[in-house]
Each structure stands twice: as C-alpha cells, then as structure tokens.
C-alpha cells in the first residue's frame, strides 16, 4: 500500500511547492495591475501634477482613515456577517471625543480609550441583536446605524462640534516619519494584527469556516454564535479607532461625515475579496482600496476642482464590478454567483424558518 500511494503524495508535495513560484495572475492581482494602470495613465496625462511626492502623501494620508474603516468591515465579513454601522460608529466616535474634550478635563488618551470601549459595547449590542434575536446582520446593523446617527444629532444639536486638542494629539494625526504619515503607520499596524489573527491563528480559521458554512461549522464544534458576536464587537472597535484617527487628523465633527465613508470601505473590501487568496482578506482590501484611491485622485486632477462627481461614480462602478468578479469566483460566502447575492440580501429569519422545515 505504501508503494502505491507514495507517488501521488510526492506529486502532491511538489504541486504544493510549485504554487509559490507561480507568476502573479491577472485575476488574483487585478487590483495591483489596475493600480499600475492608473499610475501610468495619469502619470502620462498629468505628469507634473500626478507624479509628485505631495500627490502620494495626500492620497496616503487622506486614505488611512477609510482604509481602517474598510478593515473594520472586513472582520465580520469573514464570518459572512455584515456590519453596515461602521460609518456611523466612526462619526459617533468623532463627536463624542470632541464633546468630551469640550465638557470634561479628561486627558485625550483617556477620552479616546473610553470612546473606543463605548463603541465596543455598542458592537456587543449589535451582536446580541444578530445572534440572540436572530435578526439578519444587514438589517440589524443598518438599524443600529440610524440609531447611532440620531445619538450624534442629539449630542451635536446638528452643529459643528470642535473640541480643543493638545498639540501632541494633533501631531499624532498629522506628522510624518521619513515622509510617511503617522496615520498610515497606524493603519499598517492594525492591518498586521488583523492579518495575523485572520490568517495565522485558529480563531481566524474558525471565522472563515463560519463564513463558508455555518451549519457545518457548528457541527465541527465551532461556536458560530460567539464568533459572529465577537466579530461585530471587533468591527465596532476598529471603526472607532478609525474615528480616533480622523479626530487626530482633522479635529472637528461635522454632521456630513459617517455614511460617506462607508461606501468606499465596502467597495474596497469586496474588490479585495477577489484578490490574492480570493476571499475577504487584509492585504487585498488595502491594495484594492489604494488602487481606487489613486484612480480617484488622478481623475480629480484630470477634471479639476469641478469633478466632485467623480468619486461616487468611480466607487459605485468599482463596487458593482468587484462584487460581480467576487461572486463569479465564489469568493463571497459559500457559493457561486446567485448564492453570493442571496447571501447579500437574504433574511436570516426566513432562512432559519426554512431550515426548521427540513
């Protein structure tokens, strides 16, 4: 028996090894190619404007906050759970920090920490609604999002809230080291932690398993409910960190932040899910996000200041295109095309009723 089976296993070993020497495929690395294409295109069109250190610094420093928000969305998505409240979670953080610095004498570090903890608690409430009340995550977090928006309006009374911040805090949000904005370093640090957890630890493995097939995960001994609950707490906390970063960079709260940040984050995660390992993943998300960001920057330079309509158009097309690619590859959730879309829009209430029937 040994002699019989040894050969295929040897083949399997070499096959496994040769995987690492494959050239980057057009599909798995399409975001990288797209990024390069934008650089070449706009470099050619707008050489003096586009290929400047400041363009790169502007894109990278403006993008760090949204990229972190994208990472917040990514975490529960690995477990096939949607958190649409991250945008409002971020702006809630901003208004709370500003308000607290105005109305208390707490040091800014304590304020930031308290706010992040508060958001984690809100995430736990979303988790309760999703896991215990069995509300579909799309609905639960959309509802939570509105509630959070109302809290912001109450605190801010629909006015700008500008807190007073120490110079240190402002530096934390705006300084650079070797030309790299601090904010990007925070982003990379968060990305590294998430990459480690999602790709290297048993916890990450279990999250993907829950995302792939919740029933099978339960039977394999995984507490799917706890994983979903935890992922929603994590996404709330990370979204709150994005809010802290925004406050450090920009400062004041205005009522138009929030939902505007959600969409680019979603687009990046879904586009990223068609990249690299072809499931929701950290580096794919970041690469996809920056490819899109450079495209927008290039278009803005090309069409001038009047091109405020460019960004949403671009993000919208990118989101649809990315989900179409990801769905046809089965990168979202368990199945192919139709299944991925059903996952996007189905009600868990209906699904659980149907499974009771079986």
């Amino acid at each position: 028996m040994n002699a019989m089976t040894a050969t295929p296993v040897e083949q399997a070993r070499t096959a496994a090894r040769s995987r690492y020497f494959r050239l980057p495929g057009l599909r798995r690395f399409s975001a990288v190619y797209l990024w390069a294409a934008f650089l070449i295109l706009f470099g050619w069109l707008q050489f003096h404007l586009f290929f400047t250190v400041s363009t790169f610094q502007v894109v990278f420093s403006q993008s760090a906050v949204t990229a972190v928000l994208a990472l917040a969305f990514l975490v529960p998505l690995t477990a096939d759970t949607y958190d649409l409240s991250i945008g409002e979670m971020m702006s809630l953080t901003i208004v709370v920090i500003n308000w607290l610095t105005l109305h208390t004498r707490l040091p800014i570090g304590v304020v930031a920490l308290l706010t992040v903890l508060m958001c984690a608690v809100i995430g736990a409430i979303s988790g309760f609604v999703v896991v215990k009340l069995r509300v579909n995550s799309l609905i639960a977090t959309l509802g939570m999002s509105e509630v959070l928006s109302s809290v912001q309006l109450y605190i801010s009374q629909d006015h700008q809230v500008a807190g007073s911040f120490s110079n240190l805090f402002v530096d934390v949000g705006n300084d650079k080291v070797l030309g790299i904005p601090y904010l990007d370093l925070y982003m990379i640090a968060i990305a590294l932690v998430l990459w480690f957890v999602l790709e290297q630890t048993p916890l990450g493995r279990r999250m993907f398993a829950v995302g792939g097939n919740r029933d099978a995960a339960r039977l394999a001994g995984i507490s799917a409910d706890r994983i979903i609950w935890g992922s929603l707490i994590a996404s709330a906390a990370i979204a709150s960190l994005a809010g802290v970063m925004y406050t450090a960079q920009v400062g004041a709260y205005t009522s138009d932040i929030g939902q505007g940040y959600l969409f680019p984050a979603l687009a990046a995660v879904f586009f990223g899910a068609s990249q690299l390992s072809q499931r929701p993943n950290v580096w794919g998300t970041l690469i996809a996000y920056f490819a899109l960001a450079f495209g927008i920057q290039g278009l803005t330079l090309q069409f001038g200041a009047g091109a405020f309509w460019v960004s949403p158009l671009f993000q919208g097309v990118a989101l649809i295109g990315a989900v179409a690619i990801a769905s046809s590859r089965g990168a979202l959730g368990g199945g192919g095309d139709s299944r991925a879309f059903r996952r996007l829009f189905r009600l868990r209430v209906a699904a659980s009723k149907a499974s009771d029937q079986r």
Binding site: A16, A220, I222
Partner: protein, 518 residues
C-alpha cells in the same frame, strides 16, 4: 384507461434507469407505484413531469389524447398534476396565496384582486381535500398533513370541474404517523370524485390500505402490475425485492450482546427529537452498529440528534459523559466525532482548502505561539491523504476541486484525527464512487479493530450487511427490529425488514397518540 404509457425507456449514458416500462392508470382509481431506492420510480415521475426527456420510442396518452413525454407544459396541458415530495409551498404566504401561486387571481376594477372571491374558491378546493382552515393563515402555521393537503389543493385548483390525473410523490414520507391517515382520507375523497391518482410510496402498509392497483418497479423494469386483491404484504415485499424470502435469524428488540463486560461508548436511552419518538441503543468499543429504516422512520434524525445538530430529549451518553442537547462542541469534547449525512450542507466548507477543511475541528494540535504551525499541519494532512488514499492536487487544493468521494474522505479524516471513541457515520458512502466506497469501508473496519465504537446509519443495505455487527431497523421513530450479524443477514433481508417494519397507518395512529408526539 386514462393515462397510458408504453415502452418508456430512459438511459443516462450507459446506465439504463427505465427499460420498456408500461403503465396504465384509470380515473377513479388509486394506482400505487412501489419499488426500492434506485428502482426507477423517481426517474419515471421525472419523465412524466417533463424534467427528463425519455429515450425515443416512448408513447403516452391521457384520456385517449396522445401527449409528448418530457415536456412539463404538455403534461400539464394534458391534465397531469404533480405534488412533489417537498411540496414547493412558500411558508410565509397564506394558504390563499400559495394555492393561487402561479395561477390567475380573479381580478376586479383596475386589476385589484377580488380577495373574497378568491378565498371562496380556495376554500372549495380545500374542502375537496378535507381541510377546513382559514385561508388567510400562513402555511407555516399548518400541520405537515395540512400542508400536503394545501399542495394537493393547489394541484387541483386550476381546472374547474374537469377530472385530473394526480401524481403524488411520497406524500406521506414527511408526515408524523397520525397525520398519514388524514392524508389518505383526502386521497380517498379525490378518488370518489373521479380523479385518477398515481401514488408513489415506500410504505407498503399505506399502499395496501388505499391502492386499487399496484405496479412494482425493479431495476428499471415493471416487475409486476397487480390488483390490490391479488397480493398481501409478504407477496408485495417479495415482488419488490425480487426473490423468495429466506427465514431469518431475528433477534427481537431489547436483547443485548451478552458476555461483553465493556462499558458502552454510546449509551442512548429514551431518545426523542426530530422524527425519533423513543430509542434505546448501546454501542460497545470496537462494535459496528448499523441503523436502517425507510425515510420517515427516524433514521434521518439520529445522527443529528447525537452530534448536536438537532436538540434531543432523553439521555445520550458518550464514553461516560452525558451530552447536553444541541451543543456540538461538547459532543466532540466527549469523544464522539461524526461524518454528517448531507456532505454539502453540513460537512464541507466550500471556501476553504483540503487542509483547512480537515483540521478545522481540532486546531490546537498545531498551535505554536498562538499561531497555526502550517508546516506541522501540512505534514499531518499529507499523512491522512496517504492513509485514506485521497486523490487531490495537494493539501492546499480547494475542497471543491475534489470528487464527492474524496471530499467525503476528507470529512472522515476530519472526524478521525480528533481520535474519537465513537464515530457516527450518516450515510457515509451515499453518492460516491465504488472505489472511494470500498476505501471508506476499509477505514471503518480498521477503526473498529482499533476499538472505536461505530454507529453506521445507512440507506445502503449492502453496506450494512457487509460491515455491521448488529443492525437496528427503525420504524415510526423507534426500533422495530434488531438483526444480528450472521449468514442469514443479507442486504435483501435488511430491505425486507425495513419495508415490513413500516407501521400500518391504522396502528400508527394509536401508537403515536399514546406517545403524545408533538
């Protein structure tokens, strides 16, 4: 004669599913179609309903008018109506909307639905099948028998007074036993109204109870077509199985394996839940205990009840640990591993690789400094790939790239690498190729030799006859019979036992009411 089908042949590639089948069903009669799994019953129904195209040469006519087989439209136009096993009802919608689904509502001014007229009409159809319920109730609030009746009412609904030929595919398989007789009453009522009924069923009891004429399919051919008065249960069983029954060495339920002093790895007492009404069962270390039973007998719930997929009532004890209901991770910790029945729905993670699929239920073994040591993990997986002869491009190949049999072997490896004391296999070789089947059988025997207790739940009688030391035949949610391993225990005997053990509807009504089944 009303429905007449002649020389129906259907082949899938080299495999012939139906060969020269003739069938004649008259209006005003209940015609039962019986046969074992794989005898061609479902293929026949699928050809009738237009899902499959028959091979050339088949002819069909209804009430003297020929119609084309293999076309759903032609079948409906000719007057055939189908109620499939899964009923195809939308649970959230009302009875009214379900019956009117895909039909034209009576419309009033400006395209408004005239609800009162529609409700009146639907009430009429429901009355025909003997259900008296508010048509505005959602179907989800109905009992299983009432749901079947609604599905039948829907089949009746788009005709008016015309006579129909109704095809009922396993209408009672999903019903609790006390509901069966109510559904059969509805079928009788339809017969009295002059409709023709073609009833597909596994339950010989109900077939003998209600049918006027019985056609037996065996290996794709009509083995017999007889009047009800010409056969009894034993005769019918012989026709289905295709040989004279050998008297069997039958051990009655309740007798245990004697002389073994070992503690059982699985001890089940008074197990209830799903379709199970009451089951006692022991599995000793190294013993292979088979479980058989037709659909609806409780067989399909047993694995989920033990492994925590369904919450159970009663006692389930694995290697001395009492299991709490519905907690799969505690089941694993107690030392029981399962290979689930529906591979795609309950087993495989389609987004993960072979390696991650295999190790998911026990990752701590390769944990180093909080992360997974992939080299160690890959090494172990290569070992399992070799041991079970899994054909894959490598440990990192996507699980979806493997054949069904090899995916199943991955699931077996997932269970075995937790070093279980008890292995629960639910139809482990269903739908996989012969080679993989043989390999899985070999693994099962090796595990038993190593002292793992094995519960083998299977619809494959050959598998049970070949492997099991003891076979429990389930019927009506309880153990009806126990077959001890011996030369007399053959696949045929297991088939026969399952058919004979199916409870007669009249008796089932009594026993279920005394149980107080939900």
């Amino acid at each position: 004669m009303t429905l007449r089908i002649t020389r129906l042949t259907k082949s899938f590639g080299a495999q012939i599913a139906l060969q020269g089948v003739d069938l004649a069903v008259a209006y005003g009669e209940v015609h039962a179609l019986v046969g074992q799994n794989g005898s061609g019953k479902s293929t026949l129904i699928k050809v009738l309903s237009g899902y499959h195209q028959p091979d050339p040469g088949a002819e069909a006519e209804l009430a003297g008018r020929p119609f084309q087989l293999g076309s759903a439209h032609a079948a409906t136009a000719a007057g055939l109506r189908f109620v499939h096993q899964d009923l195809a009802l939308v649970l959230q919608l009302s009875i009214l909307d379900n019956v009117m689904l895909g039909r034209t509502y009576p419309l009033g001014l400006g395209g408004r639905i005239r609800s009162r007229v529609a409700a009146e009409r639907v009430r009429g159809y429901l009355h025909q099948v003997g259900v008296d319920a508010d048509v505005r109730l959602p179907v989800a609030s109905l009992s299983p028998a009432e749901r079947s009746a609604v599905a039948i009412a829907r089949a009746l609904s788009d005709t008016g007074a015309e006579r129909l030929l109704l095809v009922l595919d396993e209408p009672t398989a999903a019903l609790p036993s006390d509901d069966v007789s109510r559904l059969l009453d509805a079928v009788r009522r339809l017969r009295e109204e002059g409709h023709g009924i073609l009833l597909v069923s596994h339950h010989l009891g109900e077939v003998l109870d209600i049918a006027d004429h019985i056609t037996v399919l065996r290996d794709g051919r009509v083995a017999a077509s007889v009047r009800r008065s010409e056969v009894n249960q034993r005769g019918l069983t012989e026709l289905i199985v295709g040989h004279s029954l050998v008297p069997a060495e039958v051990v009655s339920h309740g007798q245990r394996l004697a002389g073994l002093a070992q503690e059982p790895v699985l001890r089940i007492r008074n197990l209830r839940g799903g379709r199970m009404t009451c089951l006692d069962l022991d599995v000793l270390p190294g013993e292979i205990v088979g479980v058989a039973g037709i659909t609806g007998s409780g067989r399909e719930s047993l694995a989920s009840l033990i492994t925590g997929g369904l919450p159970h009532q009663g006692q389930v004890e694995v290697a001395g640990t009492m299991l709490r209901p519905g907690q799969p991770h505690r089941v694993l910790a107690a030392g029981a591993a399962g290979v689930p029945g529906e591979r795609a729905r309950l087993g495989v993670f389609p987004n993960l690789s072979v390696r991650t699929n295999m190790t998911i239920s026990l990752l701590d073994r390769h944990r180093r400094l909080g992360r997974i040591d992939r080299r160690g993990e890959r090494g172990e997986i290569l070992d399992w790939i070799e041991r079970l002869g899994i054909v894959t491009q490598g440990p990192d190949a996507p699980i979806q790239s493997l054949s069904g049999g090899n995916q199943q072997k991955v699931l077996v490896a997932r269970a075995l690498r937790t070093r279980p004391k008890l292995l629960v296999l639910d139809d482990p070789t269903q739908g996989i190729d012969i080679g993989a089947r043989a390999q899985i059988h070999e693994v099962v025997q090796r595990c038993a030799a190593d002292g793992i207790g094995i519960l083998l739940i299977s619809t494959d009688s050959d598998e049970l006859a070949g492997l099991a030391d003891r076979i429990l035949i389930l019927a009506g949610g309880r153990c009806a019979r126990v077959l001890r391993r011996g030369p007399a225990v053959t696949a045929k005997l297991i088939d026969v036992s399952q058919l004979e053990a199916s409870p007669e509807p009249a008796l089932a009504g009594l026993s279920a009411s005394s149980e107080g089944e939900p």
